[in-house]
């Protein structure tokens, strides 16, 4: 899909990055100031590389050696910024329809109804952007970008300005939009949670260079360490079936091939399969099924990888019986004292109270 090999310099910051991917949903991951946003803006044509080339679906967008430069308005690459950046002088409807004016008739794939439906913004069309909440603005921003029928949609930290509840909502909407319009995504994010949910492949950027590339489950645990608070955001998603609800204790039991998952909430049976998001910091590893502890959820798993780099932290990637991956962040001390190694059978213990319905 994208093929990038560019050099770009501004003041003391130098970006020199190369990657190529066929993934339809790619994430650029890295700490703040790593250059991931600049890289995305180079793809959009909002920045010009000092040298190098960028190709999208086989079409060259820029190639300094051959003197090719396609201006942003001719790339058909949509951009959704962190703070939405709606046109303040236009109504929501006119904001959304803006890109349509400039889309060649034959390329107009999105209709207004098809865009506003899944994004739930039909009732906002007559409003001014100034009268919208942060989450609403972001939804309109996504609608506006989709309405131009882009060949690639860049999402630059789309949820960074939102609170946790809005963030989950916007991620669901991005998922919906991705599937409904089959628009390839380029997600810029410093949130492993967001990436493991939305992207098929990750390019890890640090200090202006690409340091790793691969599927999220293989790339994120090691990379999460580069980001301040990254380990707190590293999470894995499991899909489980509804089993029963216990009204006496108000807990829902979910069935998963690795074991029963207990959730301290009432989940409706109809929502099956239910997505359960488990933060890496909420997982405890045990070599035997423990007794006399308050943990109610014990999943049987095999250690697939242990990522450590001499620091205090280690990230264990666990393979579950159905092939799903579960991340656990533990100390390197624990790895050594437990004698943890790849291929070992372990129990992954999860506090039920760490799971709540909002995360699902």
């Amino acid at each position: 899909m994208i093929d990038v090999d560019v050099a770009w310099r501004r003041g003391a910051f130098a970006l020199q990055a190369a990657f190529a991917t066929k993934a339809r949903a790619l994430a650029l991951y890295g700490p703040s100031g790593a250059g991931k946003s600049s890289l995305a803006m180079l793809v959009a044509g909002l920045l010009k590389p000092d040298r190098g080339r960028i190709a999208l679906d086989g079409e060259t967008l820029v190639d300094t050696a051959r003197g090719i430069w396609l201006p942003p308005e001719r790339r058909r690459v949509g951009v959704v910024f962190q703070d939405a950046l709606l046109f303040p002088h236009l109504s929501v409807e006119r904001n959304i329809l803006f890109g349509r004016l400039f889309t060649p008739k034959a390329e107009r794939r999105a209709s207004l109804d098809a865009v506003i439906g899944p994004l739930g913004i039909g009732h906002l069309l007559d409003r001014r952007p100034g009268a919208l909440s942060g989450g609403e603005k972001q939804r309109v921003g996504i609608a506006r970008a989709l309405m131009a029928s882009p060949r690639l949609l860049i999402l630059d930290e789309p949820t960074a300005a939102l609170d946790a509840a809005r963030r989950a909502e916007i991620m669901t909407l991005i998922e919906t939009a991705r599937d409904a319009f089959e628009t390839p995504l380029l997600l810029v994010s410093h949130s492993p949670e967001e990436i493991s949910r939305l992207a098929e492949e990750v390019v890890v950027v640090d200090k202006g260079a690409v340091i790793a590339q691969g599927p999220p489950s293989a790339t994120l645990p090691g990379a999460a360490r580069r980001i301040e608070g990254g380990r707190f955001q590293l999470a894995s998603a499991l899909y489980a079936q509804y089993k029963s609800y216990d009204p006496r204790y108000g807990v829902t039991r979910l069935a998963h091939p690795a074991g029963e998952i207990l959730v301290a909430a009432h989940l409706p049976a109809a929502r099956s399969p239910i997505r359960v998001e488990i933060k890496a910091t909420d997982v405890v590893l045990a070599r035997a099924r423990p007794e006399g502890v308050s943990l109610r959820t014990a999943l049987s798993a095999t250690v697939a990888a242990i990522d450590e780099n001499g620091g205090p932290l280690a990230f264990a990637t666990l393979a579950l019986p159905d092939g799903e991956k579960l991340f656990a962040s533990i100390t390197r001390l624990a790895v050594d004292e437990m004698g943890l190694r790849v291929g070992q059978e372990v129990f992954a213990l999860v506090k039920s109270v760490a799971l709540d319905e909002r995360e699902m």
């Binding site: 308005e73 949509g78 131009a148």
Partner: protein, 227 residues
């Protein structure tokens, strides 16, 4: 005492016409220069200095420069008279040119400020949505800067109404042609029984200027609120 004489009404109407034409004619150029000055480019300082020149030069020097350039025998004036039949010297059009020149810096400033207040990422968004530079300017930057354009127009109009030095140097003080309110006040003060008329016109000029400045301020506040 507050009844304006026919000559005074003539001067007032002429002033409004000259200031109006001067402002409208200068506005498109002021928008372009204001937009250019809101960016950085080589030669920015030079353009900025040239734009502000009429503000700091003695008006009589500006008027003299106009006379030399746009007079009947001046290089530009002769060319325009010969090819387009446009004559500035000792005509109301010349008074409008002088007023436009003198008010230009005041016209440009609010326009430039309101272009500077537009988030530079908004035109980028417009371009990522397929709008070229020109469309992005017309649909995003110009509409957002419009309150500043109106503010500049109001301020420039007020300044054009009061222009005296460059006008009288360039096109003299001809009743019905170039005798604007300030020129009429000057003439009245020179004549022994013109005191009352001068006072009337002075009050009128003050009222017009205050109204224009208030209008300009209101527009600028609107621009500031939205940015």
């Amino acid at each position: 005492m507050f009844e304006l004489s026919p000559q005074e009404i003539e001067a007032a109407l002429l002033s409004l016409k000259i200031a109006g034409v001067a402002t409208l004619a200068a506005l498109p150029i002021a928008v372009m220069i204001g937009f250019a000055l809101s960016r950085s480019f080589p030669g920015h300082g030079l353009l900025n200095a040239a734009t502000h020149l009429p503000l700091v030069l003695p008006p009589v020097v500006t008027g003299y420069a106009l006379l030399v350039l746009f007079g009947r025998h001046g290089p530009v004036g002769a060319f325009l008279a010969e090819h387009f039949g446009v004559v500035f010297a000792f005509r109301w059009t010349g008074a409008a040119l002088a007023a436009a020149t003198m008010s230009f810096p005041l016209l440009v400033r609010p326009i430039r400020l309101s272009f500077e207040a537009v988030d530079p990422r908004l035109p980028q968004v417009a371009r990522s949505l397929g709008a070229g530079r020109l469309w992005s300017f017309l649909l995003v930057e110009l509409p957002l800067a419009l309150p500043g354009v109106f503010a500049g127009a109001a301020l420039g109009f007020a300044k054009a109404l009061g222009e005296f030095g460059a006008t009288i140097t360039f096109v003299s003080n001809i009743p019905g042609e170039t005798r604007t309110i300030p020129a009429a006040i000057y003439s009245l003060i020179q004549s022994p029984d013109g005191d009352v008329g001068a006072l009337r016109l002075a009050l009128l000029a003050t009222a017009l200027a205050v109204a224009a400045v208030l209008l300009s301020e209101a527009m600028q506040r609107r621009a500031g609120r939205r940015a």
